[in-house]
């Protein structure tokens, strides 16, 4: 039986997402997606029931990528979130072996992944990604939200994976726009990554403080109007890369984050940092390690 929502065409992405997460399809990464959604929902004042619906449905779509997209191999899991006034659109994409039919989307509990998505969303479509892969596009009705202005423009937007400043082996790449949305999103995602890096609650809290500081003090230095952070999490170590920043502005982020009488917070909270230039842009690398 053919289902109506299947479209075998690739829809162009018209806008820039408010949140984009590039991950691998490891099971533990679904948690990062949920944390990002929780943060975004806080920023746009999504009601808790709506967040729960979105989070449940999106988790199902991500779990499908974890379980079925790459035949047991590792591959990209991409999530984009668009806050569109009275709707929230979420796209979950893989670059796997091509279009999967609903039957192949099934999971361990007799294929309830898609029925759950269908029941919780206003609409859902599955389409094939050019070059191989599957994209699940979900729309959710939302009420009384403080919708952000859309992440403006197509100002030289490049996919993070092809961006020259891309960190090899990044655990997660997070791009948020407008940058103020990152206030709630970045600390949550970094908390989860700090937990994964076996940080103590002590250092997890430092990571949250560092995330707050990065968001608060980088806005005027961003290259473009989106905040982009890449993170590599390894045991007892987090490596963050903030950027692209405007030329000469990485030092300004550090200075701006200095509080009179307290010194530069970012320096105190991290173990070391580096500034490097890449063409006409800069990045700020920050390393945090568990103490002792």
């Amino acid at each position: 039986m053919r289902r109506r929502e299947i479209r075998l065409l690739t829809l162009p992405v018209a806008e820039i997402p408010n949140v984009r997460l590039n991950l691998s399809n490891r099971a533990e990464n679904v948690l990062l997606v949920r944390q990002a959604l929780s943060g975004l929902s806080e920023a746009i004042k999504l009601d808790a029931v709506e967040l729960n619906d979105v989070s449940t449905a999106v988790s199902e779509a991500c779990n499908n990528v974890v379980m079925h997209a790459y035949n047991g191999e590792e591959g990209p899991l991409e999530v984009e979130v668009y806050a569109l006034g009275n709707e929230l659109e979420v796209i979950v994409r893989d670059r796997g072996r091509g279009m999967r039919t609903p039957a192949q989307h099934g999971d361990d509990v007799g294929g309830i992944g898609l029925p759950v998505i269908r029941a919780l969303s206003r609409s859902m479509e599955i389409s094939e990604v050019t070059g191989g892969g599957t994209e699940v596009r979900m729309r959710f009705a939302i009420t009384k939200t403080t919708a952000p202005e859309p992440a403006a423009g197509s100002d030289g937007h490049r996919a993070a994976s092809s961006y020259p400043l891309a960190m090899p082996d990044a655990t997660a790449s997070l791009i948020v726009g407008p940058p103020r949305l990152a206030r709630a999103v970045l600390p949550r995602v970094l908390t989860a990554l700090a937990a994964r890096a076996y940080f103590s609650t002590d250092r997890i809290s430092d990571t949250q403080l560092l995330a707050d500081a990065l968001v608060a003090h980088s806005e005027n230095s961003l290259d473009g109007d989106r905040l982009s952070v890449q993170v590599t999490a390894t045991p007892r170590d987090l490596h963050l890369r903030l950027g692209p920043l405007q030329q000469g502005r990485a030092a300004a982020v550090l200075e701006d984050a200095a509080q009179d009488g307290l010194g530069t917070l970012l320096e105190r909270l991290s173990n070391r940092h580096e500034i490097s230039a890449h063409g006409s842009a800069e990045v700020l690398d920050l390393h945090l390690a568990e103490r002792g």
């Binding site: 029931v49 029941a119 002590d202 809290s205």
Partner: protein, 266 residues
């Protein structure tokens, strides 16, 4: 496989072979066979359980959700029309989810802090302090999860929720880490301030830091001037590391608000 022919052939169950749910529905709804109903409940309870686990994750106590999901399952069974030919599952999933959504709406869950989440945040806070005292260093999220038999995501959510609950950290009695029984966090913070006034304030600093209460100012300096860890600060001031974390976060936010006066770019 699930055609009408199989549904009408026989009503006898073949041992060891799971009976087609449609035939069970025919036996129950059309022939009043209660054992078929029981069989259906057993068959689809895992579906209700699985949906309860997925939906409302980390928010309500699981047992409450399971009860609501089970109720949804029974409703779906009552309303399912076997003659329409859709598999029961595709009918049951939205019905059960609908029941859980209504429960959340009716219970005011959308506007209050979910009970389960709040209880977990308190447990995480207490466990953090207990483990830190026993082992002499702050635990990891995984250690907390293991200790409390939570999953790591619940701990991560709690670590963030704690920041938001003013009342949780200040008014709740402290866990038995201390000798003075019944003392609350609020009690133990005062009085110690002046001892930790290690750095003299100059005029410019006073302008901004002066707006921060002495207790928070002391903690800020311990963390950022003396470079103590939050655990070390917690020991010296006599509060929990979680409390230090919350106070640091809040006072840094206040400092930023003071520094970036209105009119200035944010």
């Amino acid at each position: 496989m699930q055609g009408a022919a199989t549904a009408t052939r026989t009503s006898r169950t073949i041992p060891g072979v799971a009976e087609d749910p449609r035939r069970l529905f025919v036996r129950w709804q059309q022939q009043g066979d209660e054992s078929a109903r029981e069989e259906l409940v057993n068959r689809f309870m895992p579906l209700a359980r699985s949906l309860a686990r997925r939906y409302g994750r980390s928010s309500e106590p699981f047992e409450d959700l399971l009860q609501v999901a089970s109720l949804g399952l029974l409703k779906a069974m009552d309303r399912y029309d076997v003659e329409r030919g859709h598999p029961f599952q595709s009918f049951a999933v939205p019905t059960i989810l609908g029941e859980m959504r209504r429960y959340f709406r009716d219970s005011g869950w959308a506007v209050h802090v979910p009970r389960g989440a709040q209880e977990r945040a308190l447990k995480v806070r207490d466990a953090q302090e207990r483990i830190a005292n026993e082992r002499g260093h702050a635990p990891t999220a995984n250690q907390l999860a293991e200790y409390l038999e939570f999953d790591t995501e619940e701990v991560i959510d709690a670590l963030q929720a704690i920041q938001a609950y003013e009342t949780v950290s200040l008014d709740a009695p402290r866990p038995g880490a201390d000798d003075d029984a019944g003392a609350s966090y609020g009690d133990s913070i005062g009085g110690e301030d002046e001892r930790y006034e290690l750095v003299e304030l100059d005029a410019t600093v006073a302008a901004v830091l002066g707006h921060i209460p002495p207790r928070e100012r002391t903690i800020l300096k311990m963390r950022f001037v003396e470079d103590l860890t939050q655990t070390e600060i917690a020991e010296r001031v006599g509060i929990s590391q979680m409390q230090v974390s919350r106070l640091l976060r809040r006072s840094l936010e206040q400092l930023r608000a003071l520094t970036h006066a209105p009119g200035e770019a944010r």
